[in-house]
Symmetry: C2
Subunit: 147 residues, 2 copies
DNA sequence: TTTAATCTTGAGAATAAGTTTCAAATTAAA
DNA sequence: TTTAATTTGAAACTTATTCTCAAGATTAAA
Protein backbone atom coordinates (compact mmCIF):
# COMPACT_ATOMS: atom_id res chain seq x y z
CA UNK A 1 0.00 0.00 0.00
CA UNK A 2 1.34 3.41 -0.95
CA UNK A 3 2.26 5.97 1.66
CA UNK A 4 -0.47 8.25 0.40
CA UNK A 5 -3.30 5.75 0.66
CA UNK A 6 -2.04 4.79 4.08
CA UNK A 7 -2.38 8.38 5.18
CA UNK A 8 -5.77 8.74 3.55
CA UNK A 9 -6.95 5.73 5.54
CA UNK A 10 -5.52 7.22 8.71
CA UNK A 11 -7.23 10.51 8.02
CA UNK A 12 -10.58 8.84 7.55
CA UNK A 13 -10.07 7.21 10.90
CA UNK A 14 -9.14 10.49 12.49
CA UNK A 15 -12.24 12.16 11.09
CA UNK A 16 -14.48 9.38 12.29
CA UNK A 17 -13.00 9.36 15.75
CA UNK A 18 -13.86 13.02 16.03
CA UNK A 19 -17.48 12.30 15.13
CA UNK A 20 -17.13 14.19 11.85
CA UNK A 21 -18.11 13.07 8.37
CA UNK A 22 -15.68 11.88 5.80
CA UNK A 23 -16.27 13.81 2.59
CA UNK A 24 -14.74 13.74 -0.87
CA UNK A 25 -13.72 17.38 -0.46
CA UNK A 26 -11.64 16.60 2.59
CA UNK A 27 -10.00 13.70 0.82
CA UNK A 28 -9.28 15.73 -2.32
CA UNK A 29 -7.62 18.46 -0.30
CA UNK A 30 -5.49 16.03 1.67
CA UNK A 31 -4.35 14.21 -1.46
CA UNK A 32 -3.41 17.42 -3.22
CA UNK A 33 -1.44 18.59 -0.21
CA UNK A 34 0.45 15.30 0.00
CA UNK A 35 1.72 15.95 -3.52
CA UNK A 36 3.32 19.26 -2.53
CA UNK A 37 7.03 18.99 -2.01
CA UNK A 38 7.47 22.59 -0.84
CA UNK A 39 5.80 25.28 1.22
CA UNK A 40 2.36 26.27 0.06
CA UNK A 41 -0.33 28.78 0.92
CA UNK A 42 -4.10 28.44 0.65
CA UNK A 43 -4.33 30.26 -2.63
CA UNK A 44 -1.73 28.10 -4.36
CA UNK A 45 -3.39 24.95 -3.11
CA UNK A 46 -6.82 26.17 -4.17
CA UNK A 47 -5.57 27.07 -7.65
CA UNK A 48 -3.96 23.65 -8.11
CA UNK A 49 -7.22 21.96 -7.19
CA UNK A 50 -9.23 24.12 -9.59
CA UNK A 51 -6.82 23.45 -12.44
CA UNK A 52 -7.34 19.75 -11.92
CA UNK A 53 -11.06 20.29 -12.34
CA UNK A 54 -11.91 20.03 -8.67
CA UNK A 55 -14.97 21.92 -7.53
CA UNK A 56 -13.91 22.45 -3.90
CA UNK A 57 -14.45 25.92 -2.56
CA UNK A 58 -11.85 28.06 -0.91
CA UNK A 59 -13.95 27.96 2.25
CA UNK A 60 -13.55 24.20 2.38
CA UNK A 61 -9.81 24.50 1.94
CA UNK A 62 -9.72 26.92 4.84
CA UNK A 63 -11.89 24.59 6.88
CA UNK A 64 -9.87 21.48 6.14
CA UNK A 65 -6.43 22.85 6.93
CA UNK A 66 -6.93 23.01 10.72
CA UNK A 67 -8.05 19.39 10.65
CA UNK A 68 -4.91 18.34 8.79
CA UNK A 69 -2.79 20.31 11.24
CA UNK A 70 -4.54 18.63 14.15
CA UNK A 71 -4.08 15.22 12.54
CA UNK A 72 -0.38 16.02 12.22
CA UNK A 73 0.04 15.86 8.44
CA UNK A 74 0.86 19.50 7.92
CA UNK A 75 2.12 22.46 9.92
CA UNK A 76 1.97 26.18 9.54
CA UNK A 77 5.63 27.03 9.06
CA UNK A 78 5.75 30.79 8.62
CA UNK A 79 3.75 33.87 7.78
CA UNK A 80 4.61 36.34 5.07
CA UNK A 81 2.66 39.37 3.86
CA UNK A 82 -0.18 38.41 6.18
CA UNK A 83 -0.47 35.01 4.59
CA UNK A 84 0.18 31.67 6.26
CA UNK A 85 2.42 29.07 4.66
CA UNK A 86 2.22 25.37 5.36
CA UNK A 87 4.18 22.25 4.61
CA UNK A 88 3.79 18.51 4.88
CA UNK A 89 5.47 17.30 8.03
CA UNK A 90 5.92 13.59 7.52
CA UNK A 91 8.91 12.56 9.60
CA UNK A 92 10.01 16.17 9.36
CA UNK A 93 11.00 18.06 12.47
CA UNK A 94 10.44 21.79 12.67
CA UNK A 95 13.41 23.50 11.09
CA UNK A 96 14.86 26.89 10.32
CA UNK A 97 13.46 29.03 7.53
CA UNK A 98 15.66 31.68 6.08
CA UNK A 99 13.60 34.43 4.49
CA UNK A 100 15.28 36.92 2.16
CA UNK A 101 13.73 40.32 2.72
CA UNK A 102 14.61 41.39 -0.82
CA UNK A 103 13.50 38.55 -3.08
CA UNK A 104 11.22 36.88 -0.51
CA UNK A 105 12.77 33.50 -1.24
CA UNK A 106 12.54 30.96 1.56
CA UNK A 107 15.21 28.40 2.23
CA UNK A 108 15.34 25.62 4.76
CA UNK A 109 18.16 24.91 7.13
CA UNK A 110 18.17 21.80 9.28
CA UNK A 111 20.13 21.78 12.52
CA UNK A 112 19.25 18.90 14.79
CA UNK A 113 21.28 20.24 17.64
CA UNK A 114 19.46 23.56 17.49
CA UNK A 115 16.13 21.73 17.38
CA UNK A 116 17.05 19.78 20.47
CA UNK A 117 18.20 22.85 22.35
CA UNK A 118 14.95 24.63 21.57
CA UNK A 119 13.01 21.74 23.07
CA UNK A 120 15.21 21.82 26.13
CA UNK A 121 14.74 25.53 26.64
CA UNK A 122 11.00 25.11 26.72
CA UNK A 123 11.18 22.26 29.20
CA UNK A 124 13.58 24.15 31.42
CA UNK A 125 11.00 26.85 31.72
CA UNK A 126 8.30 24.35 32.54
CA UNK A 127 6.55 24.60 29.23
CA UNK A 128 5.17 21.78 27.14
CA UNK A 129 6.49 22.52 23.66
CA UNK A 130 4.38 21.45 20.71
CA UNK A 131 6.12 23.08 17.78
CA UNK A 132 8.07 26.19 16.89
CA UNK A 133 8.83 28.70 14.18
CA UNK A 134 12.35 29.86 13.59
CA UNK A 135 12.64 32.41 10.83
CA UNK A 136 15.86 34.20 10.07
CA UNK A 137 15.34 37.39 8.10
CA UNK A 138 18.21 38.68 6.03
CA UNK A 139 19.71 38.95 2.59
CA UNK A 140 20.34 35.89 0.48
CA UNK A 141 23.50 35.23 -1.47
CA UNK A 142 21.98 36.11 -4.83
CA UNK A 143 20.50 39.40 -3.65
CA UNK A 144 23.78 40.38 -2.05
CA UNK A 145 25.52 39.96 -5.38
CA UNK A 146 22.81 41.99 -7.03
CA UNK A 147 21.61 39.17 -9.25
CA UNK B 1 20.48 63.64 30.15
CA UNK B 2 17.90 60.89 30.37
CA UNK B 3 18.03 57.83 28.16
CA UNK B 4 14.75 58.83 26.57
CA UNK B 5 15.78 62.34 25.57
CA UNK B 6 19.02 60.92 24.25
CA UNK B 7 17.07 58.61 21.97
CA UNK B 8 14.70 61.37 20.95
CA UNK B 9 17.71 63.44 19.89
CA UNK B 10 19.11 60.49 17.98
CA UNK B 11 15.82 59.92 16.26
CA UNK B 12 15.63 63.56 15.16
CA UNK B 13 19.04 63.11 13.67
CA UNK B 14 18.03 59.92 11.94
CA UNK B 15 14.97 61.57 10.44
CA UNK B 16 16.98 64.56 9.23
CA UNK B 17 19.64 62.39 7.68
CA UNK B 18 16.95 60.69 5.67
CA UNK B 19 15.74 64.04 4.36
CA UNK B 20 12.46 63.68 6.22
CA UNK B 21 10.74 66.16 8.49
CA UNK B 22 10.73 65.92 12.23
CA UNK B 23 7.15 66.16 13.44
CA UNK B 24 5.50 66.23 16.85
CA UNK B 25 3.51 63.13 15.85
CA UNK B 26 6.67 61.12 15.25
CA UNK B 27 8.13 62.27 18.54
CA UNK B 28 4.94 61.53 20.47
CA UNK B 29 4.81 58.01 19.08
CA UNK B 30 8.46 57.31 19.84
CA UNK B 31 8.13 58.61 23.41
CA UNK B 32 5.08 56.53 24.09
CA UNK B 33 6.77 53.42 22.74
CA UNK B 34 9.84 53.99 24.91
CA UNK B 35 7.57 53.82 27.95
CA UNK B 36 6.36 50.34 27.06
CA UNK B 37 8.07 47.65 29.04
CA UNK B 38 6.43 44.77 27.22
CA UNK B 39 5.32 43.67 23.81
CA UNK B 40 2.77 45.90 22.15
CA UNK B 41 0.66 46.04 19.02
CA UNK B 42 -0.50 49.04 17.02
CA UNK B 43 -3.93 49.15 18.58
CA UNK B 44 -2.65 49.14 22.15
CA UNK B 45 -0.17 51.87 21.35
CA UNK B 46 -2.78 53.94 19.58
CA UNK B 47 -5.21 53.62 22.49
CA UNK B 48 -2.57 54.68 25.01
CA UNK B 49 -1.86 57.78 22.95
CA UNK B 50 -5.54 58.70 22.66
CA UNK B 51 -6.10 58.26 26.40
CA UNK B 52 -3.31 60.73 27.02
CA UNK B 53 -5.13 63.24 24.84
CA UNK B 54 -2.94 62.82 21.82
CA UNK B 55 -4.52 63.51 18.47
CA UNK B 56 -2.29 61.26 16.36
CA UNK B 57 -4.07 59.10 13.85
CA UNK B 58 -3.71 55.38 13.51
CA UNK B 59 -2.32 55.94 10.03
CA UNK B 60 0.55 57.92 11.52
CA UNK B 61 1.25 55.17 14.01
CA UNK B 62 1.40 52.70 11.14
CA UNK B 63 3.64 55.06 9.20
CA UNK B 64 6.03 55.73 12.07
CA UNK B 65 6.66 52.15 13.12
CA UNK B 66 8.78 51.21 10.08
CA UNK B 67 10.94 54.27 10.74
CA UNK B 68 11.52 53.22 14.32
CA UNK B 69 12.33 49.70 13.19
CA UNK B 70 14.80 51.07 10.65
CA UNK B 71 16.34 53.32 13.28
CA UNK B 72 16.76 50.28 15.49
CA UNK B 73 14.63 51.27 18.47
CA UNK B 74 12.00 48.62 18.04
CA UNK B 75 11.56 45.26 16.34
CA UNK B 76 8.63 43.21 15.23
CA UNK B 77 8.90 40.19 17.51
CA UNK B 78 6.02 37.93 16.61
CA UNK B 79 2.65 37.75 14.93
CA UNK B 80 -0.49 36.49 16.55
CA UNK B 81 -4.04 36.39 15.18
CA UNK B 82 -2.90 38.31 12.11
CA UNK B 83 -1.52 41.13 14.20
CA UNK B 84 2.13 42.15 14.57
CA UNK B 85 3.68 42.66 17.97
CA UNK B 86 6.67 44.87 18.63
CA UNK B 87 9.04 45.60 21.46
CA UNK B 88 11.73 48.08 22.34
CA UNK B 89 15.11 46.60 21.54
CA UNK B 90 17.59 48.73 23.45
CA UNK B 91 20.61 46.53 24.03
CA UNK B 92 18.30 43.61 23.59
CA UNK B 93 19.20 40.79 21.24
CA UNK B 94 16.47 38.83 19.51
CA UNK B 95 15.29 36.15 21.88
CA UNK B 96 12.88 33.26 22.18
CA UNK B 97 9.18 33.85 22.66
CA UNK B 98 7.16 31.12 24.18
CA UNK B 99 3.51 31.41 23.19
CA UNK B 100 0.88 29.43 25.08
CA UNK B 101 -1.73 28.29 22.62
CA UNK B 102 -4.34 28.12 25.38
CA UNK B 103 -4.06 31.41 27.26
CA UNK B 104 -2.09 33.26 24.57
CA UNK B 105 0.42 34.45 27.13
CA UNK B 106 3.88 35.26 25.81
CA UNK B 107 7.02 34.70 27.79
CA UNK B 108 10.61 35.48 26.94
CA UNK B 109 13.52 33.11 27.13
CA UNK B 110 17.06 34.32 26.62
CA UNK B 111 19.70 31.89 25.45
CA UNK B 112 22.87 33.56 24.22
CA UNK B 113 24.31 30.34 22.92
CA UNK B 114 21.21 29.68 20.86
CA UNK B 115 21.33 33.23 19.52
CA UNK B 116 24.93 32.76 18.46
CA UNK B 117 24.24 29.44 16.80
CA UNK B 118 21.39 30.94 14.81
CA UNK B 119 23.71 33.63 13.49
CA UNK B 120 26.25 30.99 12.56
CA UNK B 121 23.72 28.88 10.72
CA UNK B 122 22.81 31.82 8.52
CA UNK B 123 26.43 32.61 7.75
CA UNK B 124 27.22 28.98 6.98
CA UNK B 125 24.56 29.10 4.34
CA UNK B 126 25.94 32.31 2.89
CA UNK B 127 23.18 34.51 4.17
CA UNK B 128 23.47 37.91 5.77
CA UNK B 129 21.28 37.63 8.85
CA UNK B 130 19.53 40.76 10.06
CA UNK B 131 17.18 39.46 12.70
CA UNK B 132 15.09 36.46 13.52
CA UNK B 133 11.90 35.25 15.14
CA UNK B 134 11.90 32.18 17.31
CA UNK B 135 8.52 31.30 18.67
CA UNK B 136 7.86 28.13 20.59
CA UNK B 137 4.19 27.19 20.68
CA UNK B 138 2.98 25.01 23.49
CA UNK B 139 1.21 24.87 26.81
CA UNK B 140 2.34 26.99 29.72
CA UNK B 141 2.70 25.76 33.27
CA UNK B 142 -0.51 27.40 34.48
CA UNK B 143 -2.64 26.04 31.66
CA UNK B 144 -1.26 22.56 32.18
CA UNK B 145 -2.38 22.65 35.78
CA UNK B 146 -5.78 23.85 34.66
CA UNK B 147 -5.53 27.21 36.44
C1' DT C 1 -33.43 0.50 1.31
C1' DT C 2 -35.74 4.62 3.40
C1' DT C 3 -35.55 7.90 7.11
C1' DA C 4 -33.99 11.41 9.84
C1' DA C 5 -30.64 13.71 12.36
C1' DT C 6 -26.42 15.85 11.89
C1' DC C 7 -22.77 17.67 9.44
C1' DT C 8 -20.68 19.87 5.43
C1' DT C 9 -20.71 22.40 1.45
C1' DG C 10 -20.42 26.60 -1.78
C1' DA C 11 -21.33 31.35 -2.40
C1' DG C 12 -21.05 35.42 -0.89
C1' DA C 13 -21.17 38.68 3.03
C1' DA C 14 -18.55 40.16 6.93
C1' DT C 15 -14.34 41.22 9.50
C1' DA C 16 -10.22 43.47 10.50
C1' DA C 17 -5.13 44.67 9.96
C1' DG C 18 -2.70 47.25 7.29
C1' DT C 19 -2.14 50.43 3.12
C1' DT C 20 -3.28 54.11 0.11
C1' DT C 21 -5.31 58.44 -1.37
C1' DC C 22 -5.72 63.29 -1.23
C1' DA C 23 -6.66 67.90 0.35
C1' DA C 24 -5.22 70.66 4.11
C1' DA C 25 -1.61 71.54 7.44
C1' DT C 26 3.19 71.59 8.79
C1' DT C 27 8.10 71.80 8.24
C1' DA C 28 12.39 73.83 6.94
C1' DA C 29 15.40 76.18 3.95
C1' DA C 30 16.09 80.50 1.67
C1' DT D 1 8.01 85.74 5.17
C1' DT D 2 7.81 82.82 0.96
C1' DT D 3 7.86 78.60 -1.01
C1' DA D 4 8.73 73.82 -2.13
C1' DA D 5 8.49 69.46 -0.21
C1' DT D 6 6.70 66.47 3.25
C1' DT D 7 3.29 64.90 6.53
C1' DT D 8 -1.01 64.62 8.47
C1' DG D 9 -5.97 62.81 9.43
C1' DA D 10 -9.93 60.78 7.58
C1' DA D 11 -11.82 57.77 4.90
C1' DA D 12 -11.63 54.59 1.17
C1' DC D 13 -9.40 50.54 -0.18
C1' DT D 14 -7.16 45.85 -0.12
C1' DT D 15 -6.92 41.27 1.05
C1' DA D 16 -6.55 36.96 3.96
C1' DT D 17 -9.48 34.66 6.70
C1' DT D 18 -13.93 33.78 9.02
C1' DC D 19 -18.77 33.57 9.19
C1' DT D 20 -23.60 32.78 7.62
C1' DC D 21 -27.06 30.11 5.78
C1' DA D 22 -29.72 27.47 2.57
C1' DA D 23 -29.05 23.34 -0.04
C1' DG D 24 -26.76 18.95 -0.38
C1' DA D 25 -24.19 14.89 1.57
C1' DT D 26 -23.20 11.44 5.14
C1' DT D 27 -24.28 8.16 8.56
C1' DA D 28 -26.58 5.19 11.77
C1' DA D 29 -30.86 3.41 12.70
C1' DA D 30 -35.22 1.63 11.25
MN1 LIG E 1 10.22 24.14 5.61
MN1 LIG F 1 10.39 39.77 23.74
ZN1 LIG G 1 17.12 37.24 -2.00
ZN1 LIG H 1 -1.23 29.26 29.13
Amino acid sequence: MSVTSEIVKDFKNFIKKKGLKYTSEREEILKEILKSKQHFDVDELYMKLRKKGSKVSKASVYRTIPLLVEAGYIQEVYKQDSRSYYEVTLDKLPHIHFICIKCKSVDEIIDDYLAERIQEEAKNKNYTPLTYHLEIFGICHKCKKGV
